[in-house]
């Protein structure tokens, strides 16, 4: 874990404003914006911590990006924080998207509009891939070791990106196996080095 002091949101209002601004910028999915905002701009968490929360957010029901908001909001301000984050993500974009739906029925047929959307979609795809690559840099500290992690990353990508298999197979099948393996690694780790595990426990 990095030794530099961690910052935290000062108020529920700051949390609401943070998520509102992210949501209004986030074309084609907001997770890239949340990662950059939390880890690089606000420094409310390290990339490793972000990844741990993302693992929880991604396996729970609901949109993962909003689940991140609930996890972070509730950590700092309990239910009020979670509500502020969710409200921030939804409030302004919902009005915007309904307005766009009205506009779209009159302008959606223009080729410029659909071509612009294609361009924005291509950038949004790039943002997702880049965010994933950034998160890869947090893997060397994973208890399973880099080699096992690399295998998991490649197999998951082949299953979902290339073979278009159901996400649930990767998430609960492969992910489940990985959790069992990680459990064994952590157990071995603790047995081999009781001092480090005590330190881990003290940290949390």
């Amino acid at each position: 874990m990095s030794p530099e002091p961690r910052k935290a949101p000062g108020s529920v209002r700051e949390l609401f404003v943070f998520f509102s601004l992210l949501a209004l910028q986030g074309f084609g999915g907001i997770i890239a914006f949340i990662e950059k905002g939390l880890v690089q701009n606000k420094k409310w968490m390290t990339r490793e911590e972000f990844l741990e929360d993302w693992a929880v957010a991604r396996t729970m029901p609901g949109p993962p990006a909003i689940n991140m908001g609930i996890i972070i909001g509730s950590r700092h301000f309990g239910a009020r924080g979670a509500f502020a984050a969710v409200l921030g993500v939804f409030l302004f974009p919902s009005f915007l998207v309904l307005g766009l739906a009205v506009l779209y029925s009159s302008f959606g047929h223009l080729p410029e509009v659909s071509n612009a959307l294609r361009g924005m979609g291509a950038v949004a795809a790039g943002l997702l891939i880049a965010t994933g690559i950034k998160l890869l840099t947090a893997l060397p500290s994973n208890v399973m070791g880099l080699r096992v992690c690399a295998v998991l990353v490649v197999v998951t990508f082949v299953m979902i990106g290339l073979l278009h298999m159901r996400v649930a197979y990767a998430l609960f099948g492969l992910g489940g196996l990985a959790c069992v393996y990680a459990y064994r690694c952590l157990g071995r780790h603790r047995a081999a080095d009781p001092a480090s595990s005590r330190k881990d426990r003290g940290q949390s």
Partner: protein, 197 residues
Amino acid sequence: MSQDPTVVLALIDWWRLAENFLILSAISMGGPLILLPEMRRFLVVEQGWITNEQVTASVALAQSAPGPNVLFVALLGWNVGMNAGSYWTAFFAAMLSMICMMVPCSLIVYGAARWVQQNAHKLFVRAFKQGMSPVVISMLIASGWTLATAGTELQADWPIWLLSAVTVGLVLWGKIPLVLLIAIGGALGALGLLGGV
């Protein structure tokens, strides 16, 4: 373009709409978009409230608009309400659908988040986070990959692929605000530099 259906919504139908999203919300592991086939079956096939074209347009619009992609649920509701008569029913149906889609899963995640936080030091919680990490990262990359390549061919659509690739590079090594990158992509597209229709 096919004719949009005209719909009459009784009170029980409003409840059915709400109930449908309340249930789907609780089982939307991996994100709501996974449940799109379920929503299509209910709204288009069983109830006949909206057309397939309206479903597709809702998803496309939500993905191209700012904000979370799950807003496509609000647009599905919006279309149901529009077919039922007016902007007012549309607005009400949009809000109802969105709220019903968000409340159950948010409560589950809130409970889970508190629990995970209180048990963060337990071995199986740490194992869960560590084990899932590589898989969920790869899923993020795979969804970007799918978004970039779906419905395109390398020979005809290489400018689109190139734009996605350059974006990856700029995000990793550049300091350009992400929203500016989106705007540039939109401008390049509108100018017709990426091919297309």
